[in-house]
């Protein structure tokens, strides 16, 4: 049977909002986010699970959204870069800006979400821990140094923040 163009209605939970959309069964989560919902903060670098630019959080875990079919993520909680900042920038975002961890910025949303998932579980990482955590995210511009520094800085901001609450 020719399944070209076969459509399916699905429900997606993204950044705490529920969306009802119709997708081609071949559409990935990344396709749905970018082309249907206009959440273009999630980047497409390879579409093959190799660069990490499309990283989003699924139930808190970083995943390559180009590697999952949209029809398969129903019922999961997805967070994209657009959902990270509340009223003000998240400490990780703030640290990326201030440490100069952003150049062209195309890898940045994926890096930040990877860092978010990592720092949720590891509050006091070493340089090596951070490098390990982001090893699935490629950056062609920065040379990684300032990204690592930003994540370490974010970790200490988050620790300080916690003490206050």
């Amino acid at each position: 049977m020719n399944r070209y163009g076969l459509k399916e209605k699905i429900e997606l939970r993204i950044n705490h909002a529920t969306h009802h959309i119709e997708v081609d069964v071949r559409d990935t989560l990344l396709d749905a986010l970018r082309d249907q919902l206009g959440l273009t903060g999630t980047k497409r670098g390879c579409d093959m699970g190799e660069c990490g630019a499309c990283t989003v959080l699924m139930d808190g875990k970083p995943i390559n959204s180009c590697m999952l079919l949209a029809v398969d993520v129903m019922g999961r909680n997805i967070m994209t870069i657009e959902g990270l900042a509340q009223d003000e920038l998240h400490p990780i975002q703030q640290a990326f800006v201030e440490n100069g961890a952003v150049q062209c910025g195309f890898c940045t949303p994926g890096m930040i979400l990877t860092a978010k998932a990592f720092l949720d579980h590891c509050s006091n990482p070493t340089d090596d821990d951070v490098r390990q955590a982001i090893s699935g995210n490629l950056c062609r511009c920065t040379g990684y140094r300032k990204i690592v520094e930003a994540i370490l800085d974010a970790a200490s901001r988050l620790r300080r923040g916690k003490r206050h609450v």
Binding site: G5, R34, T40, L89, V102, C104, I134, R140
Partner: protein, 703 residues
């Protein structure tokens, strides 16, 4: 003649300023070409030739056109000869990417498949398959000769005969090449992932025979170019043709595989060298036969000799064509190749002479800046720790230290127009037609304007990346952007300040020359208590505004930068892995506009140089003509785990702006290869130095 403020006077110039687009980029709000969405947008896809050499006999698009959702199909050229796998044949626009891909598969092309050749050596052999029917595979250049090679060799204490080579590298920008095109009658708006907004405008206007002002090109943000994104390319023209045919906007972004195959690379370089040096450590002569491939029709030039003085020399260079994607400019075109070759050779000669490799360089390097950098770099890396007898080292894990050098121009040039507008509500707008590749020129412009007006960079509204205001600027290449653009911004801003001070002088009843700006105020220079706030001052304009244009002032910039890098590596002789431990990059940079982004450029260059030295390689399969690693998994690039400790030393020698984007990528590979030798006594004359090469060489050395 204008000049930049001194380091003492400068308030923001040369400080660490976070980039203006930072918040947009970390929140996902920054819109790249890939992110442009328009009502009724169609998605484009290119059909590419699956053969390394094939003449198109016929193209039947009828089935593709009949597929529901397909809105336009265009053929590049019915009579085209495709010369590499990935050469463009046709393109489709459809209501979704999936449908466009389906449609591509329905296009029927009849090819006359030819013989092909995908490596330089085979291509140069007599009787090799011809890449072009009407040309030879080898395009030989003339012989360049100076001094007397034979006399020099006769007096030499040591001579060396060696062949060095560097591989093809691809740009691998994270955002692929692509365009979104929307026509409105005979005018088009193009969102382009480009490093030359005006270049794309000019090329598309030419192609469609339109007046340039009927093409508007917008590049608000772009995800890297590294030299590969200067023009619309075939893909941009196809996007525009599809949009015209479909009468709807079309987005055509390449996929990752297309990136590797078709939109540029750094050509290979091979140098067969005979060299001679005297007992007292002078490089006497170089006799060079060089060649390289830039693919099916690209050139493969590189400078040689490089950096050092060689009075007696002879060189003949040839470009070799093969059935592979064409070269495009890539970060410091030609220079990393030249540096790897020259620095490896220098190192070998020094060891032959029994001379400290650094001392040997000092004796042959005419550049004073680098002479100073040698001292700094050697101290920081701990040059005295290097191995004196690399061939006698023992153990499985071995460490060593090496070095390499580079030079670049980066002085920029005329051709940028810019406008500074001060509005009566205090808003300052600076507009020009340059674009930000990620280097941070947007922020540099704001810094220069802020410095001139006594404001903070965030207070400057910088509008770039759009051809619409009609203020041209050159492509961002050759590390020329800063030196081309900032002098024009400065002169525009200086004029605007002078005018504003006139208004304020009248109001305060003082001489305009007695006034100065700073901290968001206008002061009387010798009575700081008499001042107006910026807003009070600009409100004097009433219904007027100040509009000025700048000129390029060559006195504000300088060309010519030197750089030196020292590398320390650890080689594991059991696995063949090379782990760079530390790299010290001493980079001449002229006047630093923004220290934060300037340092970023150096880190970035070092990592790309490292990546090229150890990992990256476009591997072509001679039996099928295919690139066998057109993806980010098997085309290896440095990840966060490969990153060594990098020490960046900005070696400011003067207060004129100079470009910095390219030079730091130049010395790294040579420094690493020389460090590997220093660690193991194994000389690698060809990069990338992969573990298999290390293990093979080690085995042979111990056989």
């Amino acid at each position: 003649m204008s000049s930049w403020p001194s380091a003492q006077e400068a308030k923001v110039l040369g400080k660490r300023v976070t980039r203006l687009s930072g918040v947009d980029k970390v929140t996902g709000r920054a819109k790249y070409t890939y992110d442009i969405r328009l009502p009724g947008l169609l998605y484009g896809k290119i059909l590419r030739c699956p053969y390394a050499s094939a003449k198109i006999l016929s193209v039947d698009t009828s089935k593709a056109e009949a597929l529901p959702g397909v809105r336009a199909v265009v053929v590049v050229d019915e009579n085209k000869t495709c010369r590499f796998v990935g050469d463009e044949v046709a393109a489709v626009a459809a209501t979704s990417t999936d449908i466009a891909e389906d449609a591509i598969r329905l296009i029927e092309v009849e090819y006359d498949i030819g013989n092909y050749v995908v490596d330089e050596q085979t291509s140069m052999k007599p009787g090799a398959p011809k890449v072009h029917e009407d040309r030879e595979n080898v395009r030989p250049g003339g012989v360049n000769e100076q001094g007397s090679i034979d006399d020099a060799f006769a007096e030499a204490a040591v001579t060396l005969e060696a062949t060095y080579s560097t591989q093809v590298q691809t740009h691998m920008c994270l955002e692929t090449h692509g365009h979104v095109v929307e026509w409105d009658g005979e005018s088009m708006t193009v969102w382009a992932s480009t490093q030359a907004v005006f270049g794309v405008r000019g090329s598309l206007a030419d192609h469609f025979e339109l007046p340039a002002d009927q093409v508007r090109v917008i590049t608000e943000h772009m995800g890297g170019g590294f030299g590969s994104k200067f023009g619309p390319g075939v893909e941009g023209v196809l996007a525009a043709r599809l949009a015209k045919e479909a009468e709807a906007p079309v987005k055509l972004m390449l996929d990752r595989k297309e990136e590797f195959l078709a939109v540029g690379n750094r050509p290979s370089a091979i140098a067969e060298i005979r060299a001679a040096a005297s007992k007292d450590g002078r490089l006497l002569a170089m006799d060079m036969k060089t060649y390289g491939t830039g693919g099916a029709s690209g050139g493969a030039g590189f400078p040689l000799p490089y950096v050092y003085t060689v009075n007696n020399r002879r060189r003949q260079h040839s470009d070799v064509f093969i059935n592979a994607g064409n070269a495009r400019a890539m970060r410091a075109p030609g220079h990393p190749q030249a540096s790897f070759i020259m620095e490896s050779m220098m190192d070998e000669l020094a060891y032959e002479l029994g001379m400290d490799p650094l001392e040997f360089r000092r004796r042959n390097d005419p550049n004073e800046v680098r002479q100073g950098q040698y001292t700094v770099g050697a101290r920081e890396i701990g040059w005295h720790r290097r191995n004196r007898n690399p061939r006698e080292m023992k153990g499985t894990l071995r460490r060593g230290i090496g070095m390499g050098c580079g030079l670049w121009g980066g002085g920029g040039g005329k051709g940028t127009q810019a406008r500074c507008t001060i509005h009566s509500d205090g808003t300052v707008e600076v507009v020009t037609g340059t674009q930000d590749l990620g280097t941070g020129i947007r922020t540099a412009i704001a810094i220069v304007a802020a410095e001139g007006l006594g404001l903070a960079p965030e207070q400057i509204h910088v509008r770039i990346g759009d051809s619409q205001p009609g203020l041209p600027s050159g492509g961002s290449g050759g590390s020329t952007t800063t030196a081309s653009v900032t002098p024009v911004i400065k002169t525009a801003v200086d004029k605007a300040r002078v005018q504003l001070l006139q208004w304020v002088a009248e109001e305060m009843e003082v001489e305009a020359t007695a006034l100065t700006v700073g901290d968001g105020k206008i002061f009387l220079a010798d009575d700081l208590s008499r001042n107006l706030s910026w807003k009070e001052a600009t409100s004097l304009l009433g219904t007027d505004m100040i509009v000025t244009e700048g000129e390029w002032d060559s006195n504000l910039r300088q060309s010519g930068v030197a750089g030196v890098q020292f590398a320390e590596v650890e080689v594991d002789l059991q696995t063949g892995q090379i782990q760079p431990i530390r790299i010290v990059a001493v980079q001449d940079c002229g006047l630093v506009v923004n220290r934060l982004t300037a340092e970023s450029q150096v880190y970035s260059g070092v990592i790309q140089g490292l990546s090229w030295a150890l990992l990256e390689d476009r591997i072509m399969d001679p039996s099928t003509g295919l690139m066998i690693n057109p993806d980010m998994e098997y085309y290896k690039v440095t990840g966060s785990l490969d990153m060594p400790d990098i020490q960046v030393i900005m070696y400011d020698t003067h207060r004129k702006v100079t470009g910095l984007g390219e030079p730091p990528v130049i010395p790294t590979a040579g420094a690493i290869a020389n460090a590997v030798f220093n660690a193991t006594g194994l000389r690698f004359r060809s990069i990338p130095i992969t573990p298999d090469k290390v293990l093979t060489a080690y085995k042979e050395a111990n056989a």
